[in-house]
């Protein structure tokens, strides 16, 4: 892809030719590589370098059209502008999107430095070695059917016809390992782990390996569980998965569309236990995917979502902020209809609890490590979920893997049934979060 300055110049010149006065462009280029291995041999190696831009064009009637294209050259940009211009005739006539008032504001945060990519041979070598170590860790581990080591270098930008122009780049490296066991007379079991960092050198491959080994071994001896209501401890991964699935609770666009569990009047109401606080923080120091501006060019910042159980803010685009008479929060995703999405959750204990709990002495508690199949088991607009999970029944620190079970409930009730938010947080790709203790969740086993 050409540099941002060149794209801006081309867009400006082509827009002039087409009689377009007002437009903006958001785009990115991604250079990535990934490897998978099987029994010591590279299985599939992928590399990709691709670009894409999205242009929005406002016509004289102030309706907007949008087009995205992967052809980021003169011809491609001209065609995209022309198509967006055509589409603008059919754009929404109410609540028409506009440039973000913050698109030219100074960025306080500086993007993280990029790390040079490693050689693909180095990726393969690392993953082959890790796969071998995982296979050697226990006789029951028959394979690592899902594995991958990847690196990604991305550059993104936003510019508009009013003079806004900003760009940032970031690099990341990630690994996932998912083992499978085979033992005579037993069901196959599996477990996995994931790590992400800015570059291969900083990637905690050993931590990923150890976590996979530990989890896999812990699931070898499993028991069915009796159906009923249980006290449940949700891992960081499990709680953040649920929070993400029900993010319409604090998504201003969903709320304005009447497709949310909240309404505009929900701000300031208690939606969770007073023990819980949640923020969205794109600039969190632990966020590998740190981003300094959204697709409309609005600078990102830390936003409190739930403050001691009270719904404190919605996440906004420029359009939703204007409609609700507030400031955009830097959460816009560009499109013909601008959508809103979170960046990186920070979940934490709001206050010192009156009572603390520990898995070391709790009895008959279910520890859910991860929930699965959210696309099938979450009814985001109803608030309900029914999901298979990986986890253990814990009695005074003794963990017994659960054979096969689902957890079900209503997310709004779950938030209010939180009895303890642990103090020690765990870092996941989607956010940072401690273990969350919840009372009376339905578990279906046998």
């Amino acid at each position: 892809m050409s540099d941002v300055g060149t794209i801006a110049a081309i867009a400006k010149q082509k827009a002039q030719t087409l009689g377009i006065q007002k437009f903006d462009v958001c785009g990115s280029t991604v250079d990535e590589a990934s490897v998978q291995v099987d029994q010591g041999e590279p299985k599939q190696v992928k590399a990709s370098k691709r670009s894409s831009v999205m242009v929005r064009v406002w016509n004289e009637a102030n309706t907007v059209g949008v087009t995205s294209t992967s052809e980021v050259d003169e011809l491609g940009l001209e065609l995209a502008l022309k198509t967006a211009q055509e589409a603008s005739a059919f754009g929404a006539k109410e609540h028409v999107p506009d440039f973000s008032p913050a698109a030219t504001a100074t960025l306080d945060a500086t993007p993280t430095e990029k790390v040079p990519p490693a050689e693909i041979a180095t990726l393969i070598e690392n993953l082959v070695k890790t796969e071998a170590q995982l296979m050697e860790a226990h006789a029951a581990i028959a394979g690592v059917p899902y594995n991958g080591l990847a690196q990604r270098d991305a550059q993104r930008f936003y510019l508009n016809s009013a003079g806004a122009m900003r760009q940032e780049g970031r690099s990341s490296s990630s690994i996932y390992l998912y083992s499978k066991t085979e033992q005579e007379g037993k069901r196959p079991r599996s477990a996995g782990a994931f790590r992400v960092s800015h570059g291969l050198d900083q990637l905690d491959i050993d931590g990923c390996l150890q976590e996979t080994v530990e989890k896999t071994i812990s699931h070898l001896n499993y028991q069915p569980i009796t159906s009923g209501k249980y006290r449940v401890v949700l891992s960081a991964e499990a709680f953040l998965s649920l929070l993400g699935a029900f993010s319409n609770l604090f998504n201003a666009q969903s709320i304005l569309d009447n497709r949310s569990l909240s309404t505009v009047d929900s701000l300031g109401t208690e939606i969770a236990s007073p023990l819980l606080s949640v923020a969205d923080d794109a600039l969190h120091a632990d966020n590998v995917g740190q981003t300094t501006f959204d697709d409309e060019g609005t600078p990102t910042r830390r936003i409190s979502i739930i403050d001691r159980g009270i719904l404190s803010n919605f996440l906004h685009s420029a359009g939703t902020a204007k409609r609700l008479n507030t400031e955009p929060t830097g959460h816009a995703n560009l499109g013909a209809k601008v959508t809103v999405g979170p960046h990186f959750y920070h979940v934490f204990a709001a206050s010192q609890p009156e009572q603390t709990y520990s898995l070391d002495d709790a009895e008959n508690v279910i520890f859910i490590d991860d929930v699965q199949a959210l696309h099938a088991g979450v009814k985001a607009l109803q608030g309900s979920f029914s999901l298979p999970f990986d986890g253990w029944l814990v009695n005074k620190g003794e963990r017994v893997s659960i054979e096969s079970a689902t957890v079900a409930g209503d997310f709004r009730e779950l938030l209010k049934s939180i009895i303890y938010v642990e103090s020690e947080a765990e870092l996941t790709p989607g956010g940072i979060c401690p273990r969350i203790w919840v009372d009376e969740l339905s578990i279906t086993g046998e």
Partner: protein, 489 residues
Amino acid sequence: MPPTALLSRELPTLDYSATRDRFDETWRSPLSTLLGLGRAAGADFVEFFLERVNYISCLAEEDAITSISPRLIAGAGVRVFLAKGDCYVSTNDLSFKGLKAALEKALSILGLSLPNPQAFIPEINLELLRDYAAANQKETWLSDCSSMQEMGDILLTANAQLHQQANHVQSRRAAYFRDWQEILVAASDGVFARDIRLTQSVGYSLLCAEGSDRASINKRVGATNNPNFLRAWQYADDAAEVAESAGQMLHADYVESGNYPIIMANEFGGVIFHEACGHLLETTQIERKTSPFSEMKGKKIAHENLTAWDEGLSPNAFGSIDMDDEGMPVQRTLLIENGILKNFLSDRAGCIRTGQPRTGSGRRQSFTHAAASRMRNTYIAPGNFTNEDLFASVEKGIYCKKMGGGSVGPTGEFNFGVDEAYLIENGKITKPLKGATLIGEAKEIMKKISMSSQDLGLAAGFCGSISGSIYVTVGQPHIKVDEITVGGR
């Protein structure tokens, strides 16, 4: 036009100018040269996949069009095999230089390098262009589809119809997309094939609310190869169906968890077979050893009343294609016959790694993915029972009328959500239920599908897996599963 055997050093001076906006014969020379270059470098097999996409989506919310979003994409991927290993490199750059750079990167990943300047580069003798687009009159499909104006008008009319039919409406949407794709496959075994595909889908999303009760119901229909698809949409029928379902589910009780016999409705009920068995018959699962059926070909894996197919040939079905994404004509593949496993679904890599013959099942979302063995139109064949027979056999169970999505894990455990369910008592439907999830283990459940009715129906769906999200059909007649775990409250 270069000579058929040129020297490597002459490559930089070549001036290939293939047509930018159409994949036609002008691509033969550059691709043939690049394929020869890859083979001369030592690759066992090289394949180029070129793609152009003209996509548009349109959304009506309440009584306004809130989004019309066109997307224009062009790109290519090159796949290089060396023994059983392979690598895949994709790029947006369709120039000769861009494609050569992608090839060079793929070769270098496998430890190969371009031949020295003195080396001869034989062009690969590609077959006569196998042009399914020209042969099947697809060239005008894009211009024959609904215009932006027409798609907006139809969606607004349809969404107004939903407003008339449903009660307690909180939000109503009608959404449509058209995906036009032109592809060209050229490979070092001589494959040279072009196709145009047209996939369209339209549907409703309805949210009803009264007090604290809520019901959200979606319905989507889809088809391939029919430029008049949107114009022919029977939206009044679909609006009535969605409104009826939402009305039933709005005040439904939550299902009580437990083990039940279930009856699954036809059409999208086929997602159970797709998730519980179909994925496990793909060679991508066989080679990973994540399928319990890996060693079961020719053996009984299902109830003797069950026969199942996967094919790409049903006219206009959502998973139908003339050729797969590796240039192979599609076929009708018998998966299970009377409970006996007959065939796996195999692509080129699956064939190389597992020895299973290719079935025209190499599919991918786009040029950014290497093809993998994937399903097309997958369904359980009609059986000998009637729906009345099925219901009469259930004393207490669940009727799963409308299924949600689902997934299968590496150990064969599957799950899927039920959007619309009813309690069956003494062979009769007695009350609506919500919040059900079906969970089970593939190997066990296949033997419990004991009765199939005769009303086979297909439904459009989306399948996400190793090579991205693709269009598929799931299907079945009404079936009975003797026992399954139902997760609920």
